[in-house]
């Protein structure tokens, strides 16, 4: 019995988690609304710290009222618990505010393949207030002959567009 306990303990020590291994572990968590990208490449997972045996995970919401945040928190806790990390603290921060610029290029390509036009480069332009729309390319046929149907789409982070070329409606991940 003693031997068994000891070997178990040794195993844990041998595989002591590091910041990198935890980020890798949490990168397996998909965004609940857009499952082709994970919370790390989306920029929601900001940081992981290990302080006195407690794992502190810092996350930031894409939009203030994003209803997926609670689910993401639960999934982070569950993923860490499954690895035997029980002392978990999840910190929600608002500063610096999340921006679409944090979405990696690789993730943008995944969005496009999934049928969502990725955010155009560079965040918030004043054009929004002046009524000048971005001209995202259709994720189906790549035509830039597209027009906006509504600034507000199926989730807080998306706008609704239509392609005038292939006639398909599509979601556009809007810049903030």
């Amino acid at each position: 019995m003693v031997e068994l306990c000891l070997s178990k303990q040794l195993k844990i020590i041998a595989e002591l988690p590091t910041k990198e291994s935890i980020i890798k572990l949490l990168s397996a968590i998909p965004d609940p609304e857009i499952p082709v990208i994970n919370i790390f490449e989306l920029g929601v997972l900001r940081n992981v710290e290990l302080i006195n045996g407690t794992c502190i995970v810092t996350i930031t919401p894409t939009y203030s009222g994003c209803p997926a945040m609670k689910l993401i928190e639960n999934q982070i806790s569950a993923a860490l618990k499954a690895e035997g990390i029980n002392e978990v603290q999840i910190k929600m921060v608002y500063s610096p505010p999340w921006t679409t610029d944090w979405i990696s290029d690789e993730a943008k390509e995944k969005l496009r393949q999934y049928g969502i036009a990725p955010p155009e480069k560079s965040t918030m332009d004043k054009g929004i207030l002046l009524g000048k729309n971005k001209q995202p390319a259709c994720p189906q046929c790549s035509s830039i002959n597209t027009s906006m149907i509504s600034q507000f789409g199926s989730t807080a982070c998306k706008a609704l567009y239509r392609c005038n070329n292939c006639k398909e409606p599509f979601d556009y991940f809007k810049c903030i």
Binding site: P61, Y63, S64, G65, C66, P67, V93, Y94, S95, P96, P97, W98, T99, M124, I128, L129, G131, I149, S150, Q151, F152, G153, S154, T155, A156, L160, K174, I176
Partner: protein
């Protein structure tokens, strides 16, 4: 006034306006005039509930009495609410909802521009975050004001009536009291006088472009700073607070 009390009151004021307007907008869910607008208003309601929740969490932290954001939302009575009178006004027709939204979006846009420089780090961070979302709200409501004002005779008269009816509640947005004075000295609160000027300029510009008249009414109803509300807030709270008050501690 004690600093902590002032900050608590200030947070409630900001949080309550977000929460109450969010509830009003959510009443449109499933009733929007067209599908895209139904979705747009609910998206905007979601942003407001996000801002409201974060601000109430901070209010609860500042108060330090162990209350949660839910306690503050569901267990306070009408007189303890500090939201602006404008946001509690009923939805009416779509023109009235849009007019109310435009007046408040313009206020929030300029208010948060200033609040993001607050010496209170939490308020500054929340303002910077919210500002990105509010920019989209303001664009949405401005475009509808233009479309309705410069649209048909029917849409023009409806949105003009909406602005005329709501105008008397706009002065309340800019009232300042001892809470503001206490926090202004510390660089936490926003001076509402310059915000009011920017608001007036922008509202005038958009209304003019929409071929609408600026209401000439001068009487302004105040009172939200002391929790004196119009009769509509009581009915709203009765609906919003029904479940947690009837079944205390109920869980999903």
């Amino acid at each position: 006034m004690e600093n902590q009390t002032a900050l608590f009151q200030y947070c409630l004021r900001l949080a309550d306006s977000n929460l109450i307007l969010s509830h009003r907008l959510s009443e449109w869910c499933g009733h929007g005039p067209i599908l895209e607008e139904d979705i747009a208003l609910i998206n905007i309601a979601l942003d407001f509930i996000g801002h409201g929740t974060a601000l109430l969490q901070y209010a609860a932290l500042v108060e330090g009495k162990g209350r949660s954001e839910d306690d503050l939302a569901y267990m306070r009575n009408e007189r303890e609410y500090r939201n602006a009178l404008l946001v509690e006004q009923p939805n009416g027709d779509y023109a009235k909802t849009i007019a109310r939204q435009f007046l408040f979006d313009t206020f929030q846009y300029h208010f948060y521009q200033a609040l993001q420089n607050s010496k209170d780090e939490t308020l500054a961070a929340l303002a910077a975050k919210a500002l990105k979302e509010i920019t989209y709200h303001l664009r949405h409501s401005s475009q509808w004001v233009l479309r309705m004002g410069d649209g048909t005779d029917e849409s023009h008269s409806r949105i003009q009536t909406a602005f005329d009816d709501l105008w008397m509640f706009t002065g309340d947005l800019f009232d300042m009291d001892t809470t503001d004075e206490t926090l202004l000295k510390q660089g936490i609160a926003v001076d509402l006088a310059p915000v009011k000027e920017k608001w007036q300029t922008q509202v005038s510009e958009v209304l003019q472009q929409a071929t609408l008249k600026i209401p000439d009414q001068t009487f302004m109803q105040g009172g939200s700073r002391d929790g004196r509300h119009t009769e509509h807030l009581g009915y709203l709270l009765a609906e919003m607070q029904y479940l947690p008050r009837t079944y205390p501690g109920a869980k999903w």
